[in-house]
Symmetry: D2
Subunit: 297 residues, 4 copies
């Protein structure tokens, strides 16, 4: 087994190879002034299983195209199997045709991976809305791991034991909040998101008393523009939370998200290294490595 990494995940790939104790093959990736990519694999994968690591955040089209170039070439150069490790998987929202004529981007991306010789996909905390099981729409094996337990462990010594509540901004976030709360042996709750034109969050009345005077750890899968987190921080502050912490798997932080996350006052923002940032204080590498080890048998 060899680890190859695209330009989005050089560091993740290096850590993964070290964790697995297998070879990290350098991949040269450059952009010409005209925007075209130049890619060269440091070693041919003849007869080996190639693990190709490429997260697809912020410039997903660029990173996906680079992935496809490499994946196709790995198979051409003799890889026995290509396992795509895509720590942040893009285009998860557009999983169905809401209006006539829409492109169902998720389906096209999955088909591109398969057609360009990827045999298996591994990702982390992919946000599946309507699709309960991604394996239903993917022709190749697709595994969705989670870094939420690691996020819970990170906060064990950070929040006040016995006086902390984990909050998910909406019902879709309940799955993440529950896992983190279990690790912390803390209660959890979700807010009810009521959209009024823009972003407005209303707390269910019966659970309000859970917030007052406690440390609050807000947990979501993705922070994109920061609007949901901003509204949630405001709400728990109104409910007289003690300290407020924010955690997510994927800190995309588009546009002015950092302003929106921090401006109401937050102790700390913690994310995983699926999207590299200074907030990448929890690593998804061990979770991915464990899975690949089991796969290798």
């Amino acid at each position: 087994m060899l680890v190859y990494a695209g330009s989005a995940s050089k560091y993740f790939g290096l850590k993964l190879a070290k964790f697995l104790g297998i070879e990290y093959v350098s991949v040269e990736t450059r952009k010409f002034p005209d925007g075209e990519l130049y890619i060269r694999l440091g070693k041919e994968p003849k007869g080996e299983t190639a693990v190709l690591v490429q997260s697809m955040y912020r410039t997903p089209n660029d990173y996906l195209m680079e992935y496809l170039f490499i994946s196709r070439t790995l198979k051409e150069l003799g890889a026995r199997e290509v396992i795509g490790v895509i720590p942040y998987f893009p285009y998860a929202r557009q999983d169905t045709r809401f209006k006539p004529g829409e492109v169902v981007s998720l389906s096209v991306v999955l088909e591109l991976l398969e057609k360009m010789c990827t045999d298996r996909v591994v990702t982390v905390d992919m946000h599946l809305h309507r699709v309960q099981d991604i394996e239903e729409i993917s022709k190749i094996p697709f595994t969705n791991l989670s870094v939420m337990k690691e996020i819970g462990k990170y906060f064990r010594d950070r929040v006040e034991r016995g006086n902390t509540v984990v909050v998910g901004p909406d019902e879709e976030a309940e799955q993440w909040a529950k896992v983190v709360a279990d690790v912390l042996q803390a209660p959890y709750m979700v807010l009810e998101k009521v959209r009024l034109g823009d972003m407005e969050v209303e707390v269910k009345a019966k659970e309000e008393e859970l917030i007052e005077g406690r440390d609050v750890l807000i947990v979501d899968d993705i922070i994109s523009t920061g609007g949901t987190i901003e509204a949630t921080v405001r709400k728990v502050k109104e409910r007289k939370a003690n300290r407020v912490f924010v955690a997510c798997a994927h800190a995309i932080l588009a546009a002015n998200a950092e302003y929106r996350v921090f401006h109401e006052g937050v102790e700390e923002l913690v994310a995983s290294d699926t999207v590299p940032s200074p907030y990448s204080l929890v690593s998804a590498v061990p979770v991915v490595a464990d899975y690949l080890k089991r796969l290798r048998g």
Copy 2:
């Protein structure tokens, strides 16, 4: 036959539909703050031939990915045939493996088009280096048209009749220079490019007398960083050219190319509309339209 256009070629698509007298179907393309595309076709192509226009300049990965999303969806929504009109075709240089481990990008791009349901490709003045015939490596019909005659016509009233020479910067440019010279009934020549570390151009001695005192029209297929044109302008000025004009099919103009083209003194820069710019004074639309008409029979 319906015309669909991606975000790189809205205007080209509109002109093409008008020229052909067929329907232009609006395609909505937006980018979310996280970099993902939202795409919606204004009309389903059920049973029709769909012409999908998307040039792939400057941000080729973005435009190619958008193309693939649309092409795949056109077929899914019932298009009888998908004809990809790609006025500027990217990744033409990397058409073979020069060093072990390199990605042969051109092959992968061609395979992506085919696998994502494009039935036929039409492009304009594609720069084929080693591959003499693109049809050899493309599984789907691939047609390479030329806008060079139109460029020649544009200059008929601009340069001095009987006192003009067309110059190609190097031997590869001979094919373009010849066509333009034929239209202008002018002589042509190519310089011999001798690379000395960076960019250096040496004129073949025997043809020097052709330049002195004449209008010079430098013709190439692509202007990317402008280095070749800059050196060529300098050289023909040293050889005492009268006025110097520059023309190309594709004005990519990456980095500081405009500075490099203009700073030695140039009368005019003229390009086609395959890459939209204020220099797009010649249109490739009639050439493409004529071809599509013949195809339709």
Copy 3:
């Protein structure tokens, strides 16, 4: 008098110098991989008046900073006077403090120009909202020229004489519509923009009969995201306009503006060359040149 041009306006500068019959001094501008600019003037302006041309569209901070670097250096290297020709002038909207703590960007930009040794500013069709006279807030002479007459002339042979109406999308656009209508000897009207959450346009009832069956030429100063134009096209089409044309001074065309302008069906989009694009079919160069000639006396 010498003409210098920044990287946003190489072509405009070249045309301006040619029109004025004065020297165009090449300015080398490059960006290092770390994002810093390298700038070198082709000739020192000792004792001369330096005209510095730099439009500030799309990446206004980059182009403004480049301008300031050059302007400051021209004075340091002996320019008698620095005249800033800024065909598209940015930050015109934020001309007052609407809410406490806001930056009044326009004032800061004007102060930067003055402090960095610009002696006089010339611009074209700057969108002044509340400020009636820019000279009131600028410490240096500031001249706002207009390209609207040239736009009117362009359409003389394009629209049906005696059966055309010029439409401004809102009351602020009345000033531009009037000028274009005068040139065309056509009537003009403005729509009443009623914002309902997003963008909604309501036609004043009494003027509806002006639209039906006529060619409509929609005129505005700027097309930014295209929302206003999109709504206006839809409205005049509902009112049974014959053909619809769109014209503006500055085609910024941010985000998916081209889609929004064209998707309801438009004959042609015409803009000036203050913002270079394939729609730059009208030139602001003669207007600017005439003014500079008068200034020189």
Copy 4:
């Protein structure tokens, strides 16, 4: 004393305020689709000292312009003093006119800070080439702090005690290597950079024996395109280094720098948080905070 932070340094500003135990004032910064900035200060600084934190990496023109907008407005809104904390200070290389006509960018940037109401500048490990003392060319007090001791401390438990050598890629890096070596009580050396066309590094013969079998910690101030580090890693590997670590103050990591740093095999890349990245494992906040405390008296 109040802390304001621009969009480049929200997190640094937050940590700085917390470290100093003073108020962090939220600054809203958004970009409109046309590229213009919207900025609003969360609180007016009337009569207070305003610390404005804005690092200027990767898109230095954008971040500098945003800084100038805020700095000017802080003074307008009553700040008694504006202290600019610019963790990464750009344009340090162009500190003199190497060729006629060049812009001396560093001088212009310093003048812009002063003219736009900054009273004092604090930065970290600024790369001063020819200028021995920045105070000579800055009209306002300018302090250059260093995070190198903190980098040394970080490696105390990472490298093998008594068997480590600190290496500076060239003579300019000797200053950084020495400080880190002192903290580690290790020897240090610098390579002699001999540029042969591109990047080539030659080790001084007499010191070669220092490398073989030892842990090597390569230290530089900035990693920009990674070329210098790539060559240095290759050289110390040829000299049979044991493990190789890389550290710098500012991890700019432009173009394909991550590939170049890692591909020859490196244990770890460590940088400070002046440029936020997943490698920001050492914080410059305590150094800056200590200085500001002393300043406050």
